[in-house]
């Protein structure tokens, strides 16, 4: 075993210096001793070229669109659509592919992002309310279906997924409310969405009443 003459202590391992006073150790290291800790490697932070290139290309594309759009103005702010679509792409890659968060949460966030893009497109092309009237109900139905499938596949995370199923279903009633407020012009897609949401809520309440009650109790315990 190595020895530090300054500190009068023995030192394990292959180090050359005393851990306390950094003076040179005498003696030889013991044979066949397993190192206790992995070697510390100060890795320089990885320079992610692809990510930076993509970031640059997206910002450049957005700016060029805006530039061309304003220079050759045709009465339509179409560059805004381009920018939101680029943002949606980033969000999709980051959230749906790279994120480690719960799948229900990711699906819900993706649904909101898609709806926001559709509302932007609708607004830019002269607000006809199709995004809220037709598009939103079907996106919500699709998300709700996906959530139901995930609920059965990803059984270990049923508690979160049930919560997001609830949240998505509640969102399903919004198009009808918007119609009643006079913000959209067509009822039937919203009504279909609301019916679907109502059915999925009932399905949860009837088949998973105990789990449902338990989940609410946990979330709101004082």
């Amino acid at each position: 075993m190595k020895y530090c003459n300054e500190c009068k202590t023995y030192v394990l391992g292959n180090g050359q210096c005393c851990p306390l006073c950094f003076s040179k150790l005498s003696g030889t290291a013991e044979e066949n001793i397993a190192e206790a800790y992995p070697e510390k490697k100060e890795l320089p932070r990885k320079y992610n070229f692809i990510l930076r290139l993509l970031l640059f290309l997206s910002v450049a594309a957005g700016l060029i669109c805006l530039f061309v759009n304003l220079l050759f103005w045709s009465g339509l702010l179409w560059s805004l659509i381009a920018v939101t679509v680029i943002l949606l792409l980033w969000e999709t890659v980051g959230l749906m592919i790279l994120s480690k968060k719960n799948i229900g949460w990711r699906l819900f966030a993706q649904m909101i992002a898609v709806l926001l893009v559709s509302i932007t497109v609708d607004a830019v092309t002269g607000w006809k309310a199709w995004s809220l009237g037709y598009f939103a109900p079907f996106v919500i139905i699709a998300s709700s279906c996906a959530m139901t499938i995930i609920f059965y596949i990803k059984r270990t995370q049923w508690r979160e997924n049930m919560l997001f199923q609830l949240i998505i279903s509640v969102n399903g009633f919004i198009p009808v409310v918007l119609y009643l407020c006079g913000l959209t012009k067509v009822l039937w897609p919203g009504a279909v969405g609301a019916l679907y949401s109502l059915l999925s809520l009932l399905w949860m309440l009837i088949f998973f009443d105990k789990q449902f009650k338990n989940e609410l109790k946990k979330r709101f315990h004082v």
Binding site: C7, T9, L20, K40, K100, Q157, V222
Partner: protein
């Protein structure tokens, strides 16, 4: 614990999710050195075999509107080769939502635990059971091991012993005292320096017996003396204040796997006149004796329990509560002590398991302004004092170990 079960965090655990971050990880490590190289696949199997018997660990942390809570975790726990430094933050998202982490390196098994789950006693029991199961899977003959696991399953392991014992005890407020802090050049975030000093328990025991003090008191005195002697100019308006966690299971009958400990503080005023070591030893020992009493600990713990049970506290949304707790911790938590000294005491295992074990170590995580902490545990005549530092300076450790070697004790050092 089944899939519907959940429970709120116990009184001490409540603080940790709020305050933990990159600087204050609230993670401690207990490791064990075996006589041979670790087989990762068997270790993983052992962890997952034993986990159901330790429901306090088989959980994940979730946020409610008012409080955090733990609920059953269905995922399997994974075991990886050791990376990074001890007591680094445990990222639940990449750890199957678990708040503990088993890793291995050569012949060492590490268990890092987020403090909200359990205290040292709970973690040591968990580690012991996993190691017993691992050795069993390796084909070693073990006597009496399976009985240990049987016991773990049966006792009331999930009791919130704080609420059980201290709900109706009259509370005593702890005075706010700003303590001296060890400063230095910060290491990069997450790179913790660990220095283990291995002593012979018997010779240390003989030394402390001749002074008529306990091992904890003696080591605390040496630590306080080291801090005092290495203090720049030996001058500070603030006292040196050691925080010593006490296992409440010693005073209050409890078999819980969850947290059940309290802190006692040892104050040493920094006087202009020079202390000699024996004076400090006496001061520390006296304070330990007067404070390490069930009535004192109950009254102190009850204060926090009553703060938690206050209706306004309970009805405040979690986000605001977290913010408030962080502020409180900054002001009356980490500022009020210089250094933690945690003595886990002697770890006992059945002899057939003990034959394969070389030693145990314990390590504590640091916080943003508490750059040095110390944990002690002993096994089989090997008492290991482990310092974890987030600064480059090693003055206190140097003084500490040189002092002990000056007392004629044999010290073997090891670092990461």
């Amino acid at each position: 614990m089944n899939e519907y079960d959940w429970y709120g965090l116990d009184n001490t655990a409540k603080i940790y999710p709020a305050i933990s971050g990159p600087h204050t990880t609230s993670v401690y490590r207990i490791d064990i050195r075996l006589n041979e190289k670790i087989k990762p696949d068997l270790l993983e199997e052992a962890v997952n075999n034993v986990l159901p018997f330790f429901p306090a660990f088989k959980v994940r942390l979730k946020q409610g509107l008012f409080w955090y809570y733990f609920e059953h975790n269905f995922e399997k726990a994974s075991v990886d080769e050791e990376k990074g430094c001890p007591t680094n933050r445990i990222d639940a998202d990449t750890n199957n939502d678990y708040l503990f982490k088993f890793s291995y390196f050569n012949n060492k098994i590490n268990l890092d635990v987020f403090h909200a789950l359990s205290d040292g006693t709970g973690a040591v029991n968990f580690l012991k059971a996993v190691v017993g199961c691992y050795l069993n899977l390796c084909g070693k003959e073990l006597n009496g091991f399976s009985e240990n696991v049987e016991i773990a399953q049966n006792y009331p392991a999930m009791q919130d012993s704080f609420a059980h014992y201290f709900s109706s005890v009259s509370a005593e407020k702890t005075k706010k005292i700003i303590a001296y802090h060890i400063n230095g050049a910060n290491r990069p975030l997450g790179s913790v320096k660990v220095i283990h000093g291995i002593l012979e328990t018997d010779s240390l025991k003989a030394l402390t017996k001749s002074k008529n003090v306990t091992i904890t008191a003696y080591l605390a005195a040496v630590l306080a003396f080291s801090i005092l002697e290495t203090m720049p100019g030996r001058k500070s308006a603030h006292p040196i204040r050691l925080s010593i966690p006490v296992n409440l299971r010693r005073f209050f009958e409890s078999k819980t796997q969850r947290n059940f400990f309290a802190f006692i503080y040892i104050d040493i005023e920094v006087k202009q006149s020079e202390y000699v070591f024996d004076e400090i030893l006496q001061l520390v020992s006296e304070q330990l004796i007067t404070r390490n009493r069930p009535e004192y600990l109950a009254a102190k713990t009850s204060y926090y329990l009553q703060a938690e049970k206050n209706i306004f506290t309970r009805l405040t949304p979690l986000m605001i509560k977290n913010f408030a707790l962080r502020m409180i911790y900054k002001q009356i938590g980490e500022k009020t002590y210089t250094c933690t000294l945690s003595n886990l005491g002697e770890i006992k295992v059945t002899p057939s398991v003990g034959a394969h074990i070389e030693r145990f170590d314990a390590m504590l995580g640091n916080s943003k302004i508490n750059h040095l902490n110390c944990a002690v545990c002993s096994f089989n005549n090997k008492l290991v004092v482990s310092f974890t530092a987030s600064v480059y300076e090693t003055d206190v450790e140097k003084y500490f170990f040189r002092f002990l070697s000056g007392q004629g004790l044999k010290i073997i050092l090891e670092q990461n």
